[in-house]
Symmetry: C2
Subunit: 386 residues, 2 copies
Amino acid sequence: MNNFEYKNPTKIIFGKDTIGKLTNEIPADAKVLMLYGGGSIKKNGVYEQVKTALAKTDLIEFGGIPANPEYAVLMDALKVIKEEKITYLLAVGGGSVIDGTKFLAAAAEYEGAEPWEMLKNKERPTKGMPFGTVLTLPATGSEMNSGLVITREETKEKLAMGGPALFPTFSILDPLVITSIPERQLVNGVTDAFTHVLEQYMTYPAGGLLQDRFAESILQTLIEVGPKVIKDPTDYEAGANFMWSCTMALNGLIQQGVPGDWAIHMMGHELTALFGIDHARTLAVVAPSHYKYNFEAKKEKLAQYAERVWNVTEGSIDDKAYAGIEKTEAFFHQLGIKTKLSEYTDKFEGTAEEIAKRFTDRGWLGLGERQALTPQDAEKIVKMAY
Amino acid sequence: MNNFEYKNPTKIIFGKDTIGKLTNEIPADAKVLMLYGGGSIKKNGVYEQVKTALAKTDLIEFGGIPANPEYAVLMDALKVIKEEKITYLLAVGGGSVIDGTKFLAAAAEYEGAEPWEMLKNKERPTKGMPFGTVLTLPATGSEMNSGLVITREETKEKLAMGGPALFPTFSILDPLVITSIPERQLVNGVTDAFTHVLEQYMTYPAGGLLQDRFAESILQTLIEVGPKVIKDPTDYEAGANFMWSCTMALNGLIQQGVPGDWAIHMMGHELTALFGIDHARTLAVVAPSHYKYNFEAKKEKLAQYAERVWNVTEGSIDDKAYAGIEKTEAFFHQLGIKTKLSEYTDKFEGTAEEIAKRFTDRGWLGLGERQALTPQDAEKIVKMAY
């Protein structure tokens, strides 16, 4: 096990009918900017619940943050924050709204002229405007971590950053929001959380025995409740476990003391930036090829995963490891996710080369848990994924 | 799953050779009282490491906090805190030293004349003197929670309390401390952590699917590494996983959204108070009888535990549940723990009745996950445990 430092100060308020607790979480003298997405919260009752809870709060709204939060839109929100002398941010939405809000929390305190520089320089902000969240879409774990991903249409880029000042002060997780989430987004949520765990687990045996078992616990729970939630979003027990699993998948706990991969995300982000494919689906596209390409480096963990998560008991290490990849792909198919890039686009020519070039240009010369995956390797993996 | 609120702000610094990081964690202008136990830290090098890290800090020492931290001793420490105008506490020790330090953090800000009243009234302090810990004995989880247990020799009482102000600001967990821990204390540590998980898990199926799996993960890890650590405390991988498992067993995570039992602890505390039996050993004494006595109420969970943790695949629910109890007792025996009270004392007469009377006098009329265990039930369980 590697040395680690771990602190997660976010207060989680979890359970049915908890959105009203907002009243107690936001300081009475705060001037709040409430941020949300395309307006689904106005159809599912969340908007009304938030407004009721904050009836006495000095509050301005900023809607329209798109999936894959767009830098230009966020810069409009930043203007509002400065002009209106906002002191507290409230994200009401899924990972995109929360990531965008986090970026604004950092941008509001940023002293440079162009906040995009924070992303390019992978800065780790130590100060930020306080913010809370009301989660409406379980998936990314952003509600209990300090990371964010921002997209910039102008340059077709999607970049990540994070920092100790970017944990939400609180996050409200009411599983009842799940009842009105479209199936496509539920499928994406299960897939996103599942892949988050894989990225932190599917490396090499690193002596994090408890971390491994926690990761397997989340995977097993998602396998158990994911299909149930998709079939019946009103199944509260399944929904609550789905929601808590998504949070635990990426709140930092399971990554402590063990190596992380994250190359699947790096390649997946490019596919979203280039083709607009849903984030979760890009992960499902890249993961099987990534594991096949890096089979030798990952086969012990793949075999452990096959044994413990999928009850594969027969065969050699190689057999079990390969079965683990097949089970993963079959699970994505069971959810209704296509796992070949050719099923999403026919304009593939030059894509893999472009991604390799971008990685090279950014200096990303060694990705993965051993920093050994070159841009050329990524090019081959993306081609395998077509 | 039940609604819950969860926040754990303690910063964990984990890994080999991390005690030196103390320098950065304690404010430069703090006046520190360093608290420790019987002096083992002066033999194993921890004392020197702490003093070196805090060479430039204004620091006073208070040693001699006994196992089962004694109220009278803590009141002596409180005098020092007040006389010396201490502003920061540093616990260097195991659960007893940390619990004692937590109590002092609350007592330093308590406005009444007799801090014991906080325990009697089960107060939940919202203010306390800041404190950090250097953990020298993995077991109780006190390094990452806000609970404490204090003993009072004068009245032969042992009472628990906790509150949001009583989380350590930081805790340093260096698994290298394990190499010098006596076998008896390692055995106690494994048993203590194992029982902590059981108390939060062995109730009834409550829809906390992920919480169940996390609990099982900790139990499985303790079963895997516990015997290894006892056999060879220099096995770093086993020791690190043991240490992290003890912390995760009682840092609040696995109890969120699910019922807790804790009746084993309530009965065990009395056995420590009355006979001076090591805390962990009282838990191993009470647990098997408790589970047999409450078999019908707990058998679904006992069977799930037997299946998932001990790979018991044959038989009915009742068969599996009973096998789960037997496996648990066998595990304690494997560790070298005696599980019958008669193996610890022959002055048993009247003990069970005395414990029942104490519970009645304190108004503890319904313990356990359904608040259904009466003092008379406790009397019978303690008799079964003899």
